[in-house]
């Protein structure tokens, strides 16, 4: 009888697998369609916002002394003399070709500016993201494992402080403490002035210097990353630790862990093989939000550390009312978060068989 059942079961499984692959593809297709819609809506939103401002952006860019004909010329050049929906059409068709217009302040194409500044922020955000994920999950796991012991209490207090402290306050405190008082770590820019700059390959200084074997630059770049990276990471790290703690201490009391224990499986194996993976699901699912938080806060933190990145470019564009640059910055961010969220969903699907298998079993 058992033998008779087995092939049938296998057959069902194969069918299921096929359907699951289909469902992941369908899920991806749906997400992409939705993303295109969201990006389109975001572009309408930001374009409307950037064009309803009081005042004349051209006059502001050229200054009060510019002759009227220069203002008229530039306005014509930027299609600002046409009705707003025509302006939007011009802007959109440019954006689709990768041309996001000209910056009113730097007078360079915005896309060139962005290409120049994105790698610095990307490097910082990835560094912060790694700190967040590694330390957040580790601290949450320790707190959850030793629930209500002193380690747990210390970590919980720490995570409250991390959550409620604005990242720019961390940044200021770090500059004060490590930059001035202890004089341990650099607080300005990406590299010290006396270091030979590695050639720009990816724009990520750490990778460029690693590839070219310039280890002095690599070390220096890492040192420069520490303070801004940690200021950005602490808030989301605390959030991650809290969620990891909750889910580990929940899962710890489940029957499957008790039975694993009763089989005599060593604690370390239980922790890493059986406890950590399911407990990672809630932490990974909010990582998209956390990453968004890191980039949002980079707008302030890059200012403090004089980090020549995309966020500092963005905030400067906002302070200077540089319309094209503001719109481009928001669009690039929207695109980034959509990609990050799709990646997060895929990782969660990989971690969680209930989602991977089409949500039919766990129910």
């Amino acid at each position: 009888m058992a033998g008779g059942r087995r092939p049938a079961r296998r057959g069902r499984k194969a069918g299921e697998g096929e359907r699951n692959e289909m469902s992941i593809l369908r899920f991806l297709a749906k997400r992409l369609l939705l993303s295109i819609f969201v990006l389109f809506g975001l572009s309408v939103l930001i374009f409307t916002i950037s064009r309803i401002l009081p005042g004349d952006p051209v006059r502001m860019a050229l200054g009060p002394r510019a002759p009227q004909w220069a203002v008229e010329n530039m306005r014509k050049e930027m299609h600002l003399d046409r009705p707003i929906h025509i302006q939007y059409a011009y802007w959109l068709s440019g954006a689709l070709r990768g041309d996001l217009g000209q910056s009113l302040v730097t007078r360079r194409p915005v896309s060139a500016d962005i290409r120049e500044f994105v790698p610095a922020t990307l490097e910082l955000a990835i560094f912060a993201g790694i700190i967040m994920a590694v330390f957040g999950v580790a601290m949450g796991a320790i707190a959850g494992r030793y629930r209500n012991r002193w380690v747990d209490n210390v970590i919980r207090v720490f995570s409250y402080v991390g959550i409620v402290t604005p990242s720019y306050v961390f940044a200021i405190l770090f500059v004060l403490l490590f930059g001035y008082v202890l004089n341990l770590l650099p607080t300005i820019g990406r590299l010290s002035p006396w270091i030979t700059r590695p050639p720009v390959l990816t724009g990520l200084v750490t990778i460029d210097s690693l590839v070219t074997g310039n280890f002095a630059a690599l070390g220096d770049a890492l040192l420069h990353l520490i303070l801004p990276g940690v200021s950005l990471a602490l808030g989301p790290l605390a959030q991650q630790a809290r969620i990891a703690r909750a889910s580990i201490s929940d899962n710890q009391n489940k029957d499957y862990i008790a039975s694993a224990r009763s089989f005599g499986i060593p604690g370390r194996v239980i922790m890493f093989k059986y406890l950590l993976k399911p407990s990672l699901i809630p932490t990974v699912s909010i990582m998209g939000l956390d990453f968004a938080g890191i980039i949002a806060n980079a707008f302030l933190v890059e200012l403090i550390f004089n980090w020549p990145g995309f966020s500092r470019y963005g905030i400067q564009a906002m302070l200077n009312k540089d319309l094209n640059a503001v719109a481009a910055v928001v669009m690039v961010l929207g695109l980034t978060f959509i990609i990050v969220n799709i990646l997060v969903d895929l990782i969660v699907a990989w971690l969680d068989p209930r989602i991977r298998l089409g949500g039919e079993r766990g129910k």
Partner: protein
Amino acid sequence: MIGVNGLTVQAKKRRWEGFRKAWYKFSRNPVSVVGLVFVLGVSFLAVFAPLVSPYPNHAGPYVNFAIGSKPPSLSHPFGTDAFGRDILSRVFFGFRYSLMMGAVVLALVVIPGVVLGLIAGYYQGTRIDTIIMRITDIFLAVPPLILALAITSVLTPSVLNAMMAVSLMWWPWYTRLVYGLASSLRHEFFVQSAEVIGASRFHILFRELLPNCVSAIFTKMSLDMGWVILIGSALSFVGLGAQPPIPDLGTMVADGAKYLPDQWWIAIFPAFAIMVTVLGFNLLGDGFRDLFALEEI
């Protein structure tokens, strides 16, 4: 025996009993009580700032360079800033702007957000649902801080414009929260019964669905007070929110940052004030969440 009045008295009694039980449960959690104390303390200082601050006139454009940049002392417990203004007094007045920011934004945001969420949840699966929820997706595509920065940047920077910008970015969170709750409640028996006896849409949305979402909305509001205050202070920090001489905590941190590290007290005390305020609302919100046994927030 029991008349209409008797019933209402009993109902009132039961409600009071419910409150007492909730308070008992709430007060068992020391963390929530600490949060409540912080929130009440900050609110008290904000409301009575002109009475409790040692130098109420220092909140405005007061200048006395003779006592400028003095470290903390007995007469100025938090020290003075470069213009000679008492930082303690300015922090008390700063609580006013922080709380006002949070209160105004939430007041503007909760009603439209909740109503849209109820409608989308009730008409789940229809075109109305699609339209409302896809619009919220657009607003949620970029962190609220960045869109708020983008909006304030095209307007003249002021407290009012900062509030408007944050409000414009914040309603989708309520829509999304209420949508989740309403769409799961939508197929419960009590909603179906109301439909069967011909209750109006208005009745179903606001008398059947809404009361079941109130505790979640309330908890989210408490947590959001903290977040909105953080975002408001960030806007002021970069100069797109409150303008000097308004004693906004974010502006004060930004000003003080210029005098680091020698005159550390100018930036550090306002920064701690922001942290205490946000911590209070967070702990309180966590307390509500445990109290109402909510998981989805």
